[in-house]
């Protein structure tokens, strides 16, 4: 199953965070999209909105379930993936690439260090967490 890129950080709620200079890109993991099944709706915050670590910033819906998206870090939303509302299936096809959700300007970049490493996340998933 292991599709857990080594250069990303992870939450226990199955989001990933990627440092890009002084910005952080956020999405959901391969494991998350697989558990959800076909993603049919994604609701994202507006550019400029504030997000808080461990709090919901949006919603992803599959045919059968509604799930909150949790922010890996606090900060301001700089970009959202404007393609997702029209093409939610992108989240299934390319969760670490074209299926990204938001880009955040962190208010406390130190929060990134508190997230799981790829190895820790892999172990977390292997323990049957969901």
């Amino acid at each position: 199953m292991a599709n857990v890129p080594g250069d990303l950080k992870y939450t226990r709620e199955h989001e990933w965070a990627k440092r890009e200079g002084d910005r952080v890109r956020v999405g959901i993991t391969h494991f998350a999209q697989e558990q959800l099944g076909d993603v049919v709706f994604v609701e994202l915050p507006k550019v400029g909105a504030k997000v808080t670590a461990h709090q919901a910033f949006g919603v992803v819906e599959s045919v059968k379930a509604v799930s909150d998206l949790f922010a890996p870090i606090s900060g301001e939303v700089l970009e959202i993936n404007a393609e997702l509302p029209q093409k939610p299936e992108t989240v299934n096809k390319d969760p670490y690439g074209k299926g990204w959700m938001i880009v955040v300007k962190p208010s406390n970049a130190g929060e990134l260090d508190q997230l799981l490493t790829s190895q820790q996340y892999e172990e977390f998933v292997a323990q049957g967490a969901h």
Partner: protein, 379 residues
Amino acid sequence: MTRPETRWSTGSLVNTSLKRTPLYDAHVKAGARMVPFGGWEMPVQYAGIVEEHRAVRAAVGCFDVSHMGEFEVEGRDAPAALQRLTTNDVAALEVGQVQYSLLCYPDGGIVDDLTVYRLASDRYMLTVNASNIDKDWRWVTEHGGGAQWRNVSDATGLVAVQGPKAEALVGRLADADVTRIAYYHVTEARVAGTRALISRTGYTGEDGFEIYAPAADTPRLWSALLEAGRGDGAVPIGLGARDTLRLEMRYALYGNDIDATTNPLEAGLGWIVKPAKGDFIGRDAIEKVRGTGPARKLIGLEMADRSIARHGYRVMKDDRETGVVTSGSYGPSVDRSIALAYVASAHAPIGTELGVEIRGQIRPARVVKTPFHPSRVKK
């Protein structure tokens, strides 16, 4: 990414009291995702709900619906018992014919929806929803007195074969000419060597069959169908796609769209209520509603955006509540977010602009004609 807000929760897989169909092992072997559903451990998906949905519309899919219940009733008193219990007119059933019908409470609320099969001149079979088997069994034996009832649910397997290529697939395995089975008719035959009832019925809006077989033979029937259908693109279909397929056709799902608190007329099921046949349980209450017209109606909604209107969400008209969503999903064949909802009759006409409250926000929706997707059943 948590907070599953769903009745398909995977959380209680260890619940050992769940019942299993004869095909449980086949589902697990095929890599299906198993979930609790109405007291049963059932496959919700194999390859994925959208892909399975499309396979049924484009080719053919096989569904394990062995969890559904079957009751047999026979004897001289059977017709009278069925006339009293069900809303449709059993006297209109020829031998070999099938009828969609309802069991109602005296107040007109729905005990269950079901199909009634006339298998011989004085022998009938009723197919009921899995989650209602115990309730229905008590109901029919209590109120269908005089007739001889047998609950054959556990002994009976049921496989639905649905899609434009279903006829060719079942035809290759059956020792009867299935092209001669008309819609809502049934024939006894052997399928893949197994004694079976082949019924031209279904829950998808596609042509196809539901095949009843002894439980012990059902795994053999299942693998024969998938094997023989491989070239046609036959794949197993889970409950997830079964739900999106039936939703696009506006077929009611008991427990979602109809239940003890809904009457047949508001649910749009007046066509299977036949007061002219004589008395039956619920007749007076239903006729009273017919006189005044139902206060609310089950209608089809199309969302303006892709947000999903789910069971229990409020339906609004100009900031005032007018009803409630009973079923909603992305409809893969219509490529839109669609729903069924009860709304005040004044707001039921096609084209009415409504809203659905989703996570505190009202999202625009419109009443549309149903079915959402054209039916291709063989009438």
